[in-house]
């Protein structure tokens, strides 16, 4: 199994290039790729979010800003340049740090949160063998890295020296740590069944058998628990109590402005993309084509590749299709449900998700034992 770093190093090894330069190249290229993915994702996702929310509320959303005079169609593409304009506005804003704030920590916090999202991408494949660095404990690494952000959130809340920020940070920490348990418990299902912590191993198991969500009712329930929990993990409505506008102004982001706030925003939407990718890798077959599982009667007539649409390039396509559908669902949640109270949030996590996820782990093990005993 190759990775981007390995292939960069491997392809230039024969050339007389200074190994130090080669190392820099191997660090810079994936870094820039990740940053571009995050930035473009934020640009597109913010626009989609605004449009989807508008349509769900019978509005039109941004309709005035175009790109280079191109304003798009009447409805969906009407304000296609809006997020670009917003990004320029954000970058040109003043970087305000309150007098009584802990300057160093306050300046650091956005970068820690951003780093958490950034590092997660390293172990996250976009397609077959298209991964920046291939771990044999990939899924474990992703779970670990996605919780780095909590430190940044607590730092941001504490250093702002603002009660709203501190409340928000504390709520965020409580919420994110709580919801990591059901997430980990539902990801353990696939590890139990496939016997792999390695992401490529998990997808390979799904290619050999079937998508994990179709493996058993317990796996499907695991998917539901995972997906609802990651919505909470990314602090999105209906679980957005850390930044509840009506109570806490903007939670731990209250005192931030300009570029640092943009970093929060960037990592928030990057986290959405990450959890959608993980969900599609673990439960929805990753970069596998959905047509692979369906036994089509006319598959023999047409060239196989037409319908299967497999391979590295189509892998990227399928990954993004699945991720975008999941992200749409997250937006759909956001504009459907009202915010939970803090006690309701904890109730859902500790009294419903964790017992069900634990039971799930036990039941799926029994299911596997029975299967082995029967066949």
């Amino acid at each position: 199994m190759t990775s981007i770093v390995k292939s960069i190093v491997g392809s230039f090894e024969s050339l007389p290039i200074d190994p130090f330069l080669l190392a820099i190249l191997a660090i810079l290229v994936p870094g820039i790729i990740i940053f571009l993915i995050m930035a473009v994702n934020a640009l597109i996702a913010v626009y989609f979010e605004r449009k989807i929310s508008a349509f769900m509320q019978d509005r039109l959303g941004p309709m005035e800003v175009g790109i280079f005079g191109f304003k798009g169609g009447k409805k969906f593409w009407g304000g296609i340049g809006q997020t670009f304009a917003d990004a320029i506005k954000l970058l040109s804003k003043e970087d305000i740090i309150p007098n009584d704030a802990d300057r160093f920590l306050m300046m650091m916090a956005p970068f820690i949160i951003f780093t958490g999202a950034f590092l997660t991408f390293i172990g996250l494949p976009m397609s077959d063998s298209l991964v920046i660095s291939n771990f044999n404990i990939g899924i474990f690494y992703i779970i670990a890295m996605s919780s780095v952000g909590v430190i940044g959130i607590i730092l941001a809340g504490w250093s702002s020296n603002n009660k709203w920020s501190l409340y928000g940070a504390m709520r965020a920490a409580a919420q994110m740590i709580s919801y990591e348990i059901p997430i980990a418990l539902s990801l353990i299902l696939v590890v139990l069944v496939s016997g792999h912590l390695d992401i490529h191993g998990i997808v390979q198991w799904q290619a050999d058998n079937r998508w994990f969500i179709l493996h058993s009712p317990f796996a499907a329930l695991g998917f539901v628990i995972y997906f609802v929990s990651v919505v909470a993990e990314t602090n999105r409505t209906p679980f957005d109590i850390p930044e509840a506008e009506s109570e806490l102004v903007a939670g731990w982001m209250t005192e931030y402005s300009g570029f640092r706030w943009a970093l929060f925003f960037l990592s928030e939407y990057a986290n959405m993309l990450i959890v959608a990718f993980v969900a599609s890798i673990v439960f929805l077959g990753g970069w596998l084509s959905p047509f692979q599982m369906i036994d089509l009667p006319y598959i023999d007539i047409l060239p196989e590749s037409w319908l299967i649409l497999d391979g590295v390039v189509f892998g990227i396509f399928w990954m993004f299709v699945k991720a975008i559908i999941l992200i749409f669902c997250m937006m759909w949640f956001r504009w459907t449900f009202p915010r939970l109270r803090v006690d309701q949030l904890m109730y859902v996590c500790w009294k419903i998700f964790i017992p069900f996820a634990l039971a799930n782990v036990i039941l799926i093990s029994i299911w596997e034992l029975i299967r082995m005993w029967i066949f």
């Binding site: 989807i52 508008a54 349509f55 769900m56 509320q57 019978d58 509005r59 039109l60 309709m63 009447k74 409805k75 759909w332 949640f333 504009w335 459907t336 449900f337 009294k351 419903i352």
Partner: protein, 465 residues
């Protein structure tokens, strides 16, 4: 325990219900969208209905409009307006003239020209009282029952308050002329001009100043013309720099009130110093000399103290006004011109006299190593402006000492510092009309004093001597 599961089931059910509902709205057609894209789309203004059958009363209190072609200038609306927001001016043609203003749409003969019909909508209180007395029905609220006359003004919002004053009458100048309103046109135009002038009041002051300056310079050129010689004689010379040098020195000599032979010599020396001599130039200089033979200025042959003091005064005035930054435009090299101008302005700020300015410029140029003989000549020509007249009274020759050696010879000094100070001494000597030997001695003293003297320079000075 069962409550727990019922709650979960209920939760999932309501979850799905909510999702279904938002998805339904998401798929809504555009007609169901509540947003109105305001500047592009506008809600229709609702019809006003106060319950009467009479549609006249159901008018919308919108903007007043006047069909000015129908207006006969009866001033009824102006009189009736309770807030005086209507202003009307009319002009009646003088008796005997036969002007046809045409008919209104209600077949009334118009008898006068409405020159102004303005309604200030910021004062209007929308009482509609002006509409009733109008005999021609030409003033009305737009929209509503009057929709067929003038469509409704959706929002007559303006960026400035002045925009709310609506002018309906706009007669042309021809129309004014027809009714004998030329005086009115004139006054209107002068008023407009006053407005324009008022906007750039500073500009007017500047212009006045300029006019004064032009008059002065015209006078001075007149004076120059009286003497009979002009710069035109150099126009045959093709070489531009040479022409410039010649013209500068010509003017300097003229201001110094030289006689024509002296002038010719002065110009000749300047040309030689700049190394720009040519047959055309020689011819021009010859012309100047000949000129003297034909017309002898009598005042010059009989110098009297009164005249000479006059000359001094005049020359001083001229020098004060004429040695300015523009005089430095004769320097061709852009770099050195810039340096010279900078130095000039700095000196001006320190309120130095012209000599001080020239010294400052020379110093600056020397420091930048941009000093050339052309610039020297140019600058020294300005020195002549102020100094020479003073010296002319005792009768000392104004001609720069032709026997003084060429400054270029000093270029052989290798040390920049030494060269600079040597040149300074040279220029001072030149200004003081010293002889070569004196200047050389001065240079020697200066350099020895500052410890820059060495064998090479010593040899050089000896060689010149």
């Amino acid at each position: 325990m069962s409550e727990y599961f019922i709650e979960i089931v209920n939760g999932v059910k309501t979850f799905l219900t909510g999702m279904k509902m938002t998805l339904k709205h998401y798929n809504n057609k555009e007609e169901l969208v509540a947003t109105l894209q305001y500047p592009h789309e506008k809600w229709p203004i609702p019809e006003r209905n106060i319950g009467f059958e009479n549609s006249e009363y159901n008018l919308i209190r919108s903007r007043l409009h006047v069909d000015i072609d129908d207006c006969i200038g009866c001033l009824q609306c102006e009189k009736v307006c309770p807030v005086d927001c209507i202003t009307i001016d009319t002009i009646k043609p003088p008796k005997g003239t036969d002007v046809d203003f045409g008919m209104t749409s209600l077949d009334t003969q118009k008898k006068m020209l409405v020159t102004r019909f303005s309604i200030d909508m910021s004062e209007c209180m929308y009482c509609n009282l002006c509409a009733y007395p109008c005999p021609e029905e030409c003033i009305y609220m737009v929209g509503g029952p009057n929709e067929h006359k003038h469509e409704i003004d959706y929002e007559f919002s303006q960026y400035k308050r002045d925009g709310l004053i609506y002018e309906f009458a706009d007669p042309t100048d021809a129309q004014f002329a027809e009714v004998g309103g030329e005086a009115y046109v004139e006054s209107r135009q002068s008023q407009k001009q006053k407005l324009v002038d008022g906007e750039n009041l500073e500009g007017i002051v500047e212009e006045e100043k300029k006019v004064v300056v032009i008059e002065e310079s015209q006078e001075s050129t007149k004076k120059d013309d009286d003497s009979g010689l002009s710069l035109k004689i150099f126009n045959n010379v093709d070489d531009k720099p040479a022409r410039g040098v010649a013209k500068k020195s010509f003017q300097a000599a003229k201001r110094g009130a030289m006689d024509y032979i002296a002038m010719a010599d002065y110009i000749n020396s300047a040309i030689i110093a700049a190394g720009k001599s040519s047959p055309e130039m020689a011819a021009a200089i010859e012309l100047i000399k000949n000129y003297k033979d034909e017309v002898v200025a009598p005042s010059q042959s009989e110098p009297s103290p009164d005249i000479s003091t006059n000359v001094i005064l005049e020359a001083d005035d001229l020098g004060a006004t004429l040695f300015d930054v523009k005089s430095l435009n004769g320097i061709e090299d852009k770099m050195s011109r810039g340096i010279a101008k900078k130095a000039f302005i700095a000196a001006k700020r320190e309120v130095l006299d012209d000599n001080g300015k020239i010294d400052a410029i020379k110093l600056a140029l020397n420091e930048a190593e941009k000093m050339t003989s052309e610039i020297e000549v140019l600058l020294s020509s300005f020195v002549a402006i102020t100094i020479n007249p003073v010296e002319s009274t005792p009768g000392v020759s104004l001609i720069p000492d032709v026997s003084l050696f060429d400054i270029k010879l000093l270029n052989d000094i290798d040390d920049k510092m030494a060269r600079g100070s040597a040149k300074k001494v040279y220029m001072a000597g030149k200004r003081g009309n010293k002889l070569t030997i004196e200047v050389l001695a001065d240079i020697r003293n200066e350099l020895t004093g500052s410890g820059m003297m060495d064998d090479d320079i010593d040899n050089l000075i000896k060689g010149i001597g």
